[in-house]
């Protein structure tokens, strides 16, 4: 059986012919598109290493069938930085020691990007920890992860505010 899917991955349309419907979104990214930044930890929805954004929402790509996501817009860790400029969440993980071995890190970072967009936690570390509970870290870098997420959230909120102010000024034709 031949099945084809068309996905937008990190802004580029990718058409993939699958010879098998069993391919998960995780395996498609890693094995077919060579995007190995997304990690396979448990492969069963228990660790979060495979977290990516699909249509703007964080999900576990190991429990998503690729054929069921035809037409989806996927963002992976490879699509986060703008050229050499790291995404604020990436920069904050470095600044706050949010990792040790780094295996869980792409999933942690994608999950943090999703969490910040969901906008449910504010600066409350307990809510951030709960909101990141779907991502396990074998090295136990949790303290730095929580700090990094809160710091990145502040920076992104500031950027949003700056963009809104600029848009407002443009609307009023000040600039």
């Amino acid at each position: 059986m031949s099945l084809s899917v068309s996905l937008t991955v990190n802004g580029t349309v990718r058409d993939v012919v699958l010879d098998d419907p069993r391919v998960t979104l995780l395996d498609l990214l890693r094995e077919r598109l060579d995007l190995t930044g997304t990690k396979k930890g448990c492969d069963r929805g228990q660790c979060g290493a495979c977290t990516v954004l699909v249509d703007g929402r964080r999900i576990n790509s190991c429990l998503a069938l690729a054929v069921s996501h035809d037409g989806a817009d996927v963002l992976t860790i490879e699509g986060l930085a703008q050229g050499d400029e790291l995404h604020p969440v990436q920069a904050a993980f470095i600044a706050h020691d949010g990792f040790q071995c780094g295996f869980c890190t792409p999933g942690q970072i994608m999950s943090a990007v999703g969490l910040i967009q969901e906008g449910q936690t504010g600066d409350d570390p307990e809510r951030v920890r709960e909101g990141m509970s779907g991502n396990l870290c074998r090295c136990g870098a949790y303290a730095g992860i929580t700090e990094g997420v809160i710091a990145a959230q502040r920076i992104l909120a500031g950027q949003n505010l700056a963009e809104q102010n600029l848009a407002e000024l443009e609307r009023k034709q000040v600039v």
Partner: protein, 356 residues
Amino acid sequence: MNIFDFVKPATITDAVAAASEPGAAYLAAGTNLLDLMKGGITRPTRLVDVNHLPGLDRIEHLPDGGVRIGSLVRNADLAHDLDFARRFPAVAEALLSGASPQLRNAATAGGNLLQRTRCAYFYDVASACNKRHPGSGCDARGGENRLHAVLGWSEDCIATHPSDFCVPLVALDAVVEIEGRAGRRELPLESFHRLPGNTPEHESALEPGELIVALRLPGDAAGFSAHARYLKVRERTSYAFAVVSAAAALKLDGGTIGEARIALGGVALKPWRCRAAEEALAGAVPGAGVFRAAAEAALGDARPSGDNAFKIELARRVVTRALTLAAAGTPERVAALPASPFASGTASGSGVHPHV
């Protein structure tokens, strides 16, 4: 994972026809089904993808104050719908205590109802399991069974149903809307899941090919919104299934309880409505003694199925605490640690350390 045929029907009628073939299974998000297929526990020969069926992803607020939840509504979207959470706070709290944010973003309302047990022997294809392989025996009997059922179990199966969502739903008289080849029918959620008896492989009232299209909560259920809680005891603070959980909802008339609703999770192969406990509370003045008596009534028929006698007393305490929390009033916002006994503000008295 076995090979299967994949179909993506465009209409509900086509989906029902495609799923009525022997060996077919519906695929929603796949967060339970794919896990089971990877382990070789279920081996469907055809997957019928329901994700693109029209009209099933809506939350409709009904004129009577109730709500209709399409079967494809994602768990996170329902929990974060402000109108829904305000009217049915215990349901939102239960949803937010389940799985992880990623899983809740994907998991659907219909899939949550039909998720399978987490019994480790069911998951291990080398073990005997009457549910997975009828007639093979039950390795949970005499095995690791601390977390198994204390209500409604049979000699053939002592597993529990793992859903959090279903617990407040069954307390609040939710109805399941089902579409099959013969048309549409509906069923109270309370009679949707089956107890194991001597056919533990038959888990729900669905006939082959039947599709859950929606769940409904009646307007009357919103009448509990001021005093409704979900409490879930886990072996770690979050991202874990319930050892025991309880939904408690009260209507308070002046100084007395007008009506009470109680259901338990993690104790049986279905979400367990505790009608005897509800009756014990009706007309009573809320207080510690009354709540403990209701908890005794709730667990009246309980008996251990293995090394799990502790769950009976734990469940009594969870019911007592959930009632105490409900009587104190639904908080403005779901706690940082949803449904957790360790959440701030869930201690049963001021200054009391939150132990169950």
